[in-house]
Symmetry: C2
Subunit: 456 residues, 2 copies
């Protein structure tokens, strides 16, 4: 292995089992060892790595921080992991064009710390933001609690330097604000989960950092009722930056885990408004009114400490739930906002029918829910598998999508064609055109290393 | 011809020369007759048309209103034009999800008239908005004077039904707010200029229609100085909805054509702010301050009639210029906002060096300029051709793009690889994968009907 990568210094080619362990997992329950890990520091090295892999037909799996909840960075059989963590330089902050150029391994929070010095920020806000990398976010089209106002990573990618599966480098986009020049390859690579190319430089549009905030917490006696209020608030087009829901199981878990008193309720809704002046207070009151009218008990929060307390509670949801069961399966469905109450009702029904515990929280303002399945044993896992399939079918029947922000990876391949139909073939054909030897993250999004299809 | 399309009623298959004349042009100077025109009224008919064309290897050119400034809907040799103007139904306005579903031939202004009844609008605002179709806008990723605030058509396309060159139908996207499920095929089709598929249904995200407006006109003694002020205003991230520039040649033409007195100047800048409350007045004053400080004479406009007068002047630019020369060549470059003053200086230099008249106006706030070449005769046309090549090279050297909103069509094919390098091959390969017989608008964006390349 080392001789294949003699252009890399020795300590940047890992082959020992104890080193490979660190690259054998992501945030899903699966594990697999790669045959090696390479740690490039430049575009040129990435090109050479791809050329070796192409010649030897060795699969390459790109890896940032490995925080994926879908299996996208999981090593596949006989693969080499390309670890981008050494390429972590913020190349340039261009204030005039509100643009920043970064290497792939820059960490989300580190970028926003740097941007804060310029009064700017990159809004998509994944739960793993303290460790996840920008290239990982681009690969998965990540977002988070602020997507309801600011959209997803795709909306901010201005340019990409990409090494294709052939070893050729393409440069896409630029720091201009718009273009009608040719196909939008840039958006095609965003969300491609490492299957179409490896990112070696990323340019992001960034925006002014808001400095006024106001928040609200609303307690409901009924989960579906909370959904109806959220749909109503969104239909009024109130300018909400965050609009989260948590069911009673999540609330209890958070209270017991973090010691934060949330006041027990069948459902909690958290909202935040942000902007550049005191209007945020008026807007949060308008939002609160919608919730009060639908029977919620509402508290407002205007000072920083109080708002921070609410977000600590929200961020504690996943670790708190992790203590309730030996395995968590965190799903990531998104439905049209109009279908939110019905989806919430159906999640309840699925839990009851299959006699399993489902804790649901999520970015309800954009229809993105994380029904989280708590699993203790093999027998329960079988029931959960059936329940998850039902969940996806219900979500799709309501006009939804399999993933709002976590991607398909290995976890949702089997349902992919249910959502996309013949478009699945079109995507596979594009994969074939760009990566003819199928060496880039094979078996992710689509199944296996089987022969490509031709469009008929 | 009629027997090939016997599934269409007779009056929807045009073959007579006088009928074909209406389909032989767009807004560029070129002309070519198709061999026939078909006018489908349903997705099923479009599928049948594509199947016939595929079997007979007859090229198909999709057409909306034919207002393109790049040649995209121009008939190619031996082609059939697919006229979508009979598919002009607004299928559904979904207020809760802020979504509208339309057939491809719906006219931009007609859609916004309907949306206004619901307090909504679709912001991209092309100069041809009174006649252009939504599918044409999607095909070209059109925008206009409001792109500086609202972005381009791509930012609003939520879903597409597309008939591929094989006759297969794919449905992409939905009315959910975000997705990380597979490749972003939707964005790939937006801006594909009819070369990848034919749109049979389009879903758009729409937004609340602002009801407060304020405007400003600034007079400068120097064209480049106006550019510097615009860059400065944009760097301050003031919330401008429109930020237009016109040089003295455009100002004179508009004054003489429309009778509107603009007060002669070396450069005029028009700005508009829009929103939902009286803050628009404060914001336009902040913008005005930037321009005053850079030596401009500034007037503000707060009432509707006065604002309308300004926009009448701006909209008159193109027809006014058309009276100054027998042929206009309207270019559409976009540079990073930081490079705007330098680009404006270089446009002046190109005009002087080649001894030609260039009238420049455009959406300067997003770096999009329309240098318009006034041409009287063959000899001048030769000099203009050299000047246009220089213009594109200068634009690209400043980090710009060949087209901000008009597309590549036939007019900029020859410069395309200069901008995109190897990515051109990747785009061609995608075209080959999706349209293996190259029957969809061949020769647009890329050259000719020559064999496809394989990625090496």
């Amino acid at each position: 292995m080392r001789e294949l990568f003699s252009f890399l210094s020795e300590e940047r080619v890992l082959v020992d089992k104890e080193d490979l362990l660190l690259y054998s997992y992501d945030a899903t329950p699966s594990r697999r060892y790669p045959i090696a890990v390479v740690r490039p520091v430049s575009t040129e090295e990435v090109v050479e790595i791809v050329k070796v892999a192409s010649r030897k037909r060795i699969p390459l799996v790109a890896r940032g921080a490995g925080t994926s909840l879908s299996g996208a960075p999981l090593p596949c059989e006989g693969c080499i992991v390309v670890d981008f963590s050494l390429m972590d330089e913020i190349i340039e902050v261009d204030e005039v064009n509100a643009f920043v150029a970064v290497q792939p391994g820059v960490v989300y929070e580190a970028l926003n710390r740097e941007l804060a010095k310029h009064g700017l920020f990159f809004p998509p806000d994944p739960g793993s933001g303290s460790v996840c990398t920008i290239a990982g976010m681009v690969a998965m089209n990540s977002s988070g609690i602020r997507a309801v106002k600011y959209g997803t990573t795709r909306d901010y990618v201005a340019s990409l330097e990409v090494v294709l599966g052939t070893g050729r480098v393409v440069k896409l986009g630029g720091r201009y604000k718009k273009s009608s020049s040719g196909y939008d390859l840039k958006s095609l690579f965003v969300g491609s989960e490492g299957t179409l190319g490896l990112f070696t430089e990323i340019g992001l549009r960034v925006i002014p950092r808001p400095n006024h905030h106001a928040a609200m917490i609303a307690h409901f006696d009924d989960f579906t009722e909370a959904g109806k209020a959220i749909t109503q608030a969104m239909a009024k087009r109130l300018d909400v930056a965050v609009l989260e829901v948590m069911d009673s199981l999540v609330v209890e878990a958070v209270e017991s885990f973090s010691g934060i008193n949330l006041g027990s309720a069948e459902a909690l809704v958290l909202a935040e408004v942000e902007g550049f002046d005191a209007n945020v207070k008026e807007e949060i009151r308008r939002i609160a009114q919608v919730f009060t009218r639908r029977g919620a008990k509402v508290e407002l929060a205007f000072d920083e400490a109080e708002i921070a307390r609410l977000w600590r509670a929200r961020k504690a949801a996943l670790p708190a739930l992790a203590r309730l069961a030996s395995t968590l399966l965190l799903e990531d469905i998104t439905v049209p906002v109009s279908a939110l109450p019905e989806m919430m009702r159906r999640i309840r029904g699925i839990g009851q029918r299959h006699n399993i515990r489902i804790a649901t929280f999520g970015h309800a303002g954009d229809g993105n829910l994380h029904p989280t399945f708590l699993v203790e044993n093999e027998e329960e896992m079988r029931r959960v598998s059936a329940a998850i399939e039902e969940l996806f079918r219900e979500c799709l029947s309501l006009g939804g999508t399999l993933s709002g922000e976590h991607g398909i990876g290995t976890e949702k391949r089997r349902y992919f064609e249910l959502e996309h139909g013949y478009a699945t073939q079109v995507m596979r054909e594009i994969k074939r055109a760009l990566d003819p030897k199928n060496i880039l993250n094979p078996g992710k999004i689509f199944y296996g290393r089987q022969a490509y299809f031709k469009l008929r």
